[in-house]
């Protein structure tokens, strides 16, 4: 009796190939799952470590955020004023959003609410293709085509400016914003549309009074992610903005972005120098901003699920 019982138990406790396979796969998946956390922490530690040499020695808060003089290589008067760079990034991103928000929300509403069947599917594929265009190609378009167009169209001396970079960045950010906004519209249960239509609402009344309010959180987070994208974009902005340190007075002024500064200068600084540390401090600042924007977007999306 007793021996039969233990035999039964032994049969349950079998460790065969599938058991080991299961364990192995679990372990691999676990590593994959937490790798994102490891990388994000690792990156933050790395840029902090490199930036701290400057942050604790030679960093002046008022100069960094208050001065427009970014002269990291000056012989006798080095200054690290990032204000012009911050304003440059902000103005390009602002311009980009002026372009991207109407385009992406319009595209999302068309794809999500109006288009059907093949039109809808092919548009979705095209939008995703657009999101996959390398940023250097966009920068190339800004540098060659947009530059000439702006000079011709507005009769200005330089075509590499806030307008150029903003338009390019707006077109770059629009596809990803469209995709997220369309997901938000798709998440609105169809029964709401049906209810409103059954009461005699027209398509536009349904969209404006029912769908958009219900998808509000998702749409806000799409815009926020677009802004995050704008702050972080480097290559296209470097090529299209004119890359001159300047507080822009109009959209036709050239500016320089935070990201472009790091990309252009980091290769030519001595590791461990003040300049090197200052560039990493710009990196920390960028990292914090994009992190905050993404966090906000995430919290906004969570807001949808709760309600």
């Amino acid at each position: 009796m007793n021996s039969k019982h233990s035999k039964d138990l032994a049969r349950l406790d079998r460790r065969d190939l599938s058991w080991y396979m299961d364990r192995l796969v679990q372990a691999v998946m676990f590593v994959g799952g937490i790798s994102a956390i490891i990388f994000i922490v690792g990156i933050f530690v790395f840029i902090s470590k490199e930036g701290f040499s400057f942050l604790f020695d030679g960093f002046s808060f008022t100069e960094f955020f208050g001065s427009i003089n970014w002269r990291p290589t000056s012989e006798n008067n080095k200054t690290f004023g990032a204000l012009a760079l911050i304003v440059g990034t902000a103005s390009i991103t602002g311009m980009a959003m002026l372009i991207a928000i109407p385009f992406s929300l319009g595209a999302a509403i068309y794809i999500g609410e109006f288009a059907t069947g093949k039109t809808r599917e092919s548009l979705k594929v095209l939008v995703e293709l657009l999101a996959a265009i390398p940023s250097v190609v966009w920068g190339f378009i800004g540098l060659t085509i947009m530059n000439g167009v702006i000079i011709q169209l507005f009769n200005v001396p330089v075509g590499l400016n806030v307008l150029n970079a903003g338009v390019i960045l707006g077109l770059m950010a629009a596809p990803i914003m469209t995709t997220i906004a369309e997901d938000a519209l798709k998440a609105v249960p169809d029964k709401y549309r049906e209810a409103a239509e059954a009461m005699g609402a027209t398509k536009w009344q349904v969209i404006r009074q029912v769908v958009l309010p219900a998808a509000k959180n998702g749409l806000v987070s799409a815009v926020l992610l677009g802004i995050g994208r704008g702050f972080g974009e480097t290559m296209a902005v470097l090529m299209a903005s004119g890359h001159s340190i300047n507080i822009p007075g109009s959209v036709f002024d050239s500016v320089r972005a935070l990201t472009a500064t790091i990309a252009a200068e980091l290769g030519e600084t001595a590791v461990g120098s003040d300049h090197y540390g200052a560039l990493f401090t710009l990196g920390i600042f960028l990292f914090l901003i994009t992190f905050l924007i993404n966090l906000t977007a995430d919290l906004v999306v969570r807001g949808i699920k709760r309600s």
Binding site: E194, A195, A198, M199, G200, S307
Partner: protein, 293 residues
């Protein structure tokens, strides 16, 4: 109120419900005899040779169907028999799907609603619809009721007009006492019964003549079902009500006329008591006895 089981109980209950309803010309709802004589009753809905296809699948075959004004007419039949499709073609909500083709004629109060140039908004203000799952909009109770009212009122309305509309709509569906203090609460937090009543209430300010109900009680428990049935019976007379139901007992106790559909065809349509007591067709008899479905 318990769901009545025997015919006698049903009859009594019917009488109780009948008392709260609007008097219907020729009808005698308070007598407890289920007799609703309505000769020459005007038609609210009339379909003529109505056929409907979803893509290549034909869901309705030459359906001729008449719904008399002021009555509750129920549509019964097994799943997939086309009863919901028929109901949904009366306010053309079927067309949302895009791949629907309709042939034949549907007249509401004598107007062909599939005629070219007909305004969908107009049709839907005449023909309100209540769905299987309560579907209040994700806004406040107040805005739910005002939604349709504002759509169909071309001029801006004052707050006192709005308040009056809300009060009378909620009173008509017996929700006013429960909800008058929380009109600004989200409608989706209400109980299912209250949600379904609200879905009926928000149709009333539009002043429809026909109310379509697609299994309005199937998501509700027996007590809520009884409450909604009572409400439907109370709206009878003022509105023409066409109700699709899976529940034969419901059709039997809460409708004046009953139509049985099978495989996209109208098999039989008569007074409810006749259909259940002396069905003319073998299929009807088999279905109401529960031999299939």
């Amino acid at each position: 109120m318990d769901v009545p089981k025997t015919l006698e109980q049903q009859t009594m209950w019917r009488g109780v419900l009948g008392d709260s309803s609007q008097p219907v010309s020729g009808g005698n709802p308070g007598s407890g005899q289920l007799k609703v004589e309505m000769p020459n009753q005007a038609l609210a809905i009339e379909t003529t040779k109505l056929s409907l296809w979803y893509g290549t699948f034909q869901a309705l075959f030459d359906v001729d169907f008449q719904v008399k004004q002021g009555l509750v007419t129920s549509l019964i039949g097994p799943s997939g028999c086309g009863k919901s499709t028929l109901l949904r073609s009366v306010n053309r909500i079927n067309e949302r799907l895009g791949y629907v083709r309709t042939e034949g004629k549907v007249e509401v109060l004598g107007h062909d609603i599939y005629a070219p140039g007909v305004d969908l908004t107009q049709i839907r203000s005449q023909v309100g619809m209540v769905f299987q799952r309560p579907n209040p909009l994700p806004v406040t109770i107040r805005k739910n009721i005002l939604f349709g009212y504002h759509l169909h009122t071309p001029r801006p309305t004052t707050k006192s007009e709005d308040d009056a509309v809300i009060e009378s709509a909620l009173k008509e569906v017996l929700l006013w006492d429960d909800l008058k203090d929380k009109l600004n609460a989200p409608a989706i937090n209400l109980s299912l019964e209250q949600q379904q009543k609200l879905c009926i209430a928000r149709l009333l300010p539009i002043k429809p003549t026909v109310l379509l109900m697609d299994e309005p009680c199937s998501a509700l428990d027996p007590k809520a079902t009884a409450a909604i049935e009572e409400l439907i019976w109370g709206l009878r007379g003022e509105y023409t009500i066409l109700i699709v139901t899976h529940n034969m007992a419901q059709a039997r106790r809460a409708s004046d006329e009953c139509a049985f559909m099978l495989m996209g065809k109208m098999v039989e349509h008569s007074k409810t008591e006749d259909l259940f007591v002396t069905p003319e067709h073998q299929e009807t008899a088999d279905y109401i006895e529960g031999k299939f479905g």
